[in-house]
């Protein structure tokens, strides 16, 4: 049984869906950030696979930059969480509803 591009794409999409579920489900911001990591990683698999099957390096490049972006996001995201945590002692998104309507 040959593993084709489609297998990877389906895998990637399943992981993406798991990430989405996590994004929607998580109330703890740190864990929510985990889910966003999953989103980006799932796409990376697809990029690498397409890159492989097309014999083209662009996909790997994209994945590379996605990793960089993910890393940067974490830095900023954790910074924000720390600020919030210092003030409120929690990182639950339910506590952030001072603005609404």
């Amino acid at each position: 049984m040959e593993i084709g591009l489609n297998h990877y794409l389906i895998l990637s999409t399943i992981l993406f869906a798991i990430g989405l579920v996590g994004v929607m489900r998580r109330k703890n911001l740190l864990l929510l950030f985990f889910a966003t990591e999953i989103l980006l990683n799932s796409v990376n698999i697809a990029f690498a696979a397409i890159s492989h099957y097309y014999g083209d390096l662009t996909g790997q490049m994209f994945a590379f930059f996605v990793i960089a972006i993910a890393a940067s996001e974490i830095a900023v995201g954790l910074g924000l969480l720390i600020v919030w945590y210092k003030r409120h002692g929690n990182i639950d998104l339910e506590s952030m509803t001072s603005m609404r309507g």
Binding site: M24, R26, M96, R100
Partner: protein, 638 residues
Amino acid sequence: MEKYLYIALFAPLVSSMFSALFTNTPKKQFVGIIASLLIFSAFVSSSILLTHILDGGDIVHVEMMTWMATGNLYIPFGFVVDQISVTMMMVVTLVSTIVHIYSIGYMDHDKGFNRFFAWLSAFVFSMMILVMSDNFAGLFIGWEGVGLCSWGLIGFWFHKEVATWAANEAFIMNRIADLGMLIGIFLVYWNTGSLQYDIAFPAMAHLDSATLTWMGIFLFIGAMGKSAQFPLHTWLADAMEGPTPVSALIHAATMVTAGVYLVIRSNELYDLIPHVGLFIASLGAFVALFAASMALVNRDMKRIIAYSTLSQLGYMFAAAGLGAYWVALFHLMAHAFFKALLFLGAGNVMHAMHDELDPFKMGGLKKVMKGTWIMMTIASLALAGIFPFAGFFSKDTILEAAFAEHHMVIYGVLLFTAGLTAFYSFRLVALIFHGEERYKIFGIHPHEAYKFMLIAMSPLLFLAMIAGIFQTPFFEMVEEILGATEYHIHSHATLLIMLVGTQMFVGLAILYAYKKYASWSSVPDGSSVIENSFIYKLLYNQYYIPYGYEEYIVKPYNELSAALWEVDKKVVDASVDGIASIFYSAGENTRDMQSGNLSTMLKWMVVGTVVLLSLAVVFGLAARYSGEIMSILSGLGV
């Protein structure tokens, strides 16, 4: 001659404006005098014009200036003095001069003395415009002008609720008719291309009869309002709330005859449509009888006279409708004299009786008011058509005309009405001047009017007596434009029988009235048998027509108006506000979508994406399998 025309026309205007200057100042005697003088000058000018016309002079026709000119329409302020208008001018200026002088006495103690003359002269001016205009638009100016002045004068004592109510009623009812008139004018304009009499009337000969019929009907609707013909008659009786000189001038002698004037003026039109003429005549005859019947039982002196006016207007329309324009015009003139006299006499009585109007509360006044008694009696004789007074000549000619035209029903009705006329006129005279002095019960001390008032009335008395002799010269004067039909019964015997018969019939009616009322002694309190009979009640309540109007027109109008206002607020406006509030409440109801909860926000994003994704997939699959889908669909026969 133009000079005299302008004097006749504008002297009343000057008088009015002069008086108006003093509206807000206390009574000034000179205002009345100057106004009377100015009106008199108009009378003199009219007389000069009359002699000019009588001498066979040319018709005086002037165009003062342009009023409206646009597109095809050209309306000048143009005035014409021909045989018809000069007659009307004479009537108007004469009666108004007398009424002005009379009013100086009558309004002596009134706060609004100056204002009264302003309105009265304004009325004369409007009336002059009405009769002198050479086109329909000018006629309409006067037409509305007299309506306005009538409103101001009926409601002269504006602190009285009834007076102002009557004023508004008169104005509004006239307006209904004016609408008809306006439509008539439009018809004339769009069919003949002009509103000038001398262009429009000749042009009518070429029009088809349906158009002409409509024209005639609409113009006549206008006349019906102004002349208070059924069913627009109720305002006239109510208008008696105004000062009596006003009733004399406006609601007896001049304004109410404007409708007759219109029909006479449009004789060329009505000659072309005899069926409309017949309708007019029939309506006239009906109103003559109808109004007379109401006068029989009424207990208001002025209203009785008003009904008699109405009745006489019916006569005039009957004549005009039958094509006897000159007869109508002649009766109009004669009627103006004796009816004004009658009203002014009634004014004297009212003054004497401290504004008491119920003749049953008077009686025996001839002792204190001899002059008035004589005048009113003669005026009533004239009204009844007793030889040799004015009424005989004019009214009998109408009867003759009806007879000669073989409209026997009309003739019969008119004849019968003549008897009724005689009866109620002398019922009134008898109740006021004869019998016991019932006024004493009410502690009133009557006195005769100022002498100058009586003197002022004397020309009318004179004319009421002798106007008949003008019949022939008048006929000769107007035959040129009103048709030279003399209504002579071919057989002299028939004529004689008719004349004598009529006179006897009328005489009997007078005698009966005297017999019944000359020795009246009590004030009826509504308990007698006759007062409780159906017919009495019907007549006394004016056939319940005012009641009907109140109940079925005024009240529904009020209610409908109130309802429409509700509709305006609760349907039209509410729907506008509703649309606005749909947006607003949509905002209110959906703002919770923005719950402020980050998780919800993320879900919205995912939901949006998934929805779009599903749509995309559906579309993508449909595109991919479009061939198959089409074949399935076609297999299903879609």
